[in-house]
Symmetry: D2
Subunit: 231 residues, 4 copies
């Protein structure tokens, strides 16, 4: 699905979490994925998407940009009704998964299981964290990426990279000290190119966002504005 | 996707839960769905399938038999990362969802939420139960179907309809007393046509099964044997 | 600890859930239990309390009114670190447990396990529900009592018995139709004697409440006002 | 309840988790706590106990050795029915809590919440881990103690300190590198003084165990044997 799987995706990157919004389901989800693909090509920037779970295989087969699952369950293939295995994520054509999103927290032993197993399957894990201490803890598990998102800023439109630059800067510094090659993203409140630029200047390798694009009146315009922060 | 959505599916029915087996993921999942479709057509019987979660939209677009999600989360569309909404299940082209499978139990208030919301979306719910008391409790919530599966028989190859006929017979009787039109399935250990026939003779409207077909050396042959119990 | 355990407690009853409030922890929890005991004796009414979990054995040994656990886990005695068994609740001197409180919902199969096992241990279960449909479902499991609490009224001071009398009246009617001897309580927003009287007049066997007493400036006065609704 | 609370407990230490065994409930739980207290005094060694949850306040008021909760929930005091707050643990007279036991795993953000809040309340946290990677992750959160327990050895009678000495030695080394003053315990399969001595020789500050004492025919003799490893 993407050159670079296994070795990682091109950074800096914008990772778009489609969540379970009405604006990103069904045909709208496919449309949004195509917008991301087109904007990535036109602006020569790296954009990855996280489609709604039941649409992962469908959308991953229709676009050439990297797709991530929004969540994966800490289980091996087998008698696991309604759970999402890493193996099914891989077969779906995705390059990896978000892990431990603030809306879908996991137990530490399960994050360790997922991160290790994903690595052995050549899948990428983007583990979400809520502060610097937890970011350091997760860095010890050596995931592909860490996305720090202070919960109090999520969905506010007040970007972490503007409102709380220290958390971004310190997370980058501490995580890279523990796990040199770990990609560090920041999220929460990111809505425009200026927010993205601020994140990159603080050392982040990209941003993770959702409502800023998905719920924008003009999704394409919102995305074009965002990628201007990478250019 | 299916004539009958909303009004229900044709009974007696065989509902095949693909779980998260390696034998039902990716191309194998598509292949298994196609086998089900072909056998249903050739033998003029009703077969429904529950693909792996991330493949639901893909598979539902490729076969004409009814597809169910294996699980749905008790959430409305919105900021729900990695959760599966009923709305996304519907957009995926599925006709409904398994609910409360023994491997994925739900809280009673959440089952009530899902059953009610599914009905308003014209989606079908097949709620799994573990005994007669719980079947009666669920019947009060008026789901589309109840599938009773004694946990101790699941995956054993010892069919509930042969080993414990009373639980099937009594569940049918009690559920239909409370909710006259509720479809009643039985599961656990069902592996061949004789097991299916026994279930139907006990009053069940069909069976829910998984490993008996998914893990069979010859999936098509296993399915053909099963449907012989409906003919 | 209480005459009547096993056969039930005297009704009409006021069940006071101490939750995890700062006003009901440690010495304050003991003090509140003693106030309840004194008011029950002085006014010859039935009051039961649910102390904070780690204080259950201590408080149950210090008062003569019935004590309930606030929650019990669906496990048998054994390797269950940090879980509360029905057996430990019984050894603590409690007469039973709240089950499925709106702040601590349980899976339907687990409620069935707890209700059945409690009955075999001669312990009383008060299962909380959120609406009439769920009340009917739970009634099929034959618990000792059902406490219906519309979530939207909990903690509001707007009593369910005044604001939504139909839900109380219909729950009583439907539950007793399914399980004739089941005690029916109502909760949510109950704060004074008038609310209690209204509940009793609607057919309820008592009320379940928390903040109306625990967080009152004068806990004794609040309780005395409440019990006036029983007199 | 104990000199040393806040500054920690005397090491090397044996921490006895009473779990939810029938052999440690009610009067038997009190008796077991008293045995621990007597053996600790007679042999001048440090023993801490984790009573069953509903008995915590009762037992902590009856013995002079340090008591820990078996589990604490990641919640602040308030409307939290059936949950155990750190504040209630403190009021109960306990010195702290086990956290994230293998039978009661927690989300990473919740462990961070509990460890931080416990420190501010002068309570001690013993966080259980399953391997070296997770031990390092938890060390970044700076708990009072880490107890590494390979799940495959728990309850086997095959002591981690004999069967897998490297995991003990490496956990001690890695944890103390990240958090110099963090106490490191080991658990899983520890049943006699030789196992304890091996743990101490590998650098551990003590052991965490359960069935080896609780389910012993002669609990006192088992404990006396264990403490011989500390002498």
């Amino acid at each position: 699905m993407i050159s670079g799987s296994g070795r990682g995706i091109k950074t800096p990157v914008i990772v778009l979490n489609e969540k379970a919004y009405v604006e990103s389901v069904g045909k709208k989800g496919v449309g949004l994925a195509q917008i991301c693909e087109e904007v990535a090509a036109q602006h020569n920037v790296s954009i990855a998407i996280c489609p709604q779970q039941v649409e992962l295989a469908k959308i991953a087969s229709q676009v050439q940009i990297p797709c991530f699952a929004q969540h994966v369950d800490p289980v091996e293939p087998g008698s696991q009704t309604g759970f999402v295995t890493l193996e099914s994520v891989k077969e779906a054509g995705a390059v990896g998964s978000l892990v431990n999103h603030s809306e879908h927290r996991l137990k530490i032993a399960d994050i360790d299981f997922i991160v290790s197993r994903a690595a052995s399957l050549n899948l990428l894990t983007i583990v979400c964290t809520n502060n610097i201490a937890v970011s350091k803890a997760i860095a010890e598990l050596k995931p592909y990426a860490i996305a720090v998102e202070p919960p109090e800023l999520i969905g506010t439109g007040r970007a972490v990279s503007k409102v709380d630059p220290a958390i971004v800067e310190d997370t980058v510094k501490e995580v890279k000290r523990i796990a040199k090659h770990c990609v560090v993203l920041c999220g929460a409140g990111v809505t425009n190119g200026e927010d993205v630029r601020a994140a990159i200047e603080l050392g982040a390798d990209g941003v993770l966002l959702a409502s800023g694009v998905v719920k924008a009146k003009d999704q394409r315009a919102a995305l074009v504005d965002l990628v201007s922060g990478l250019e």
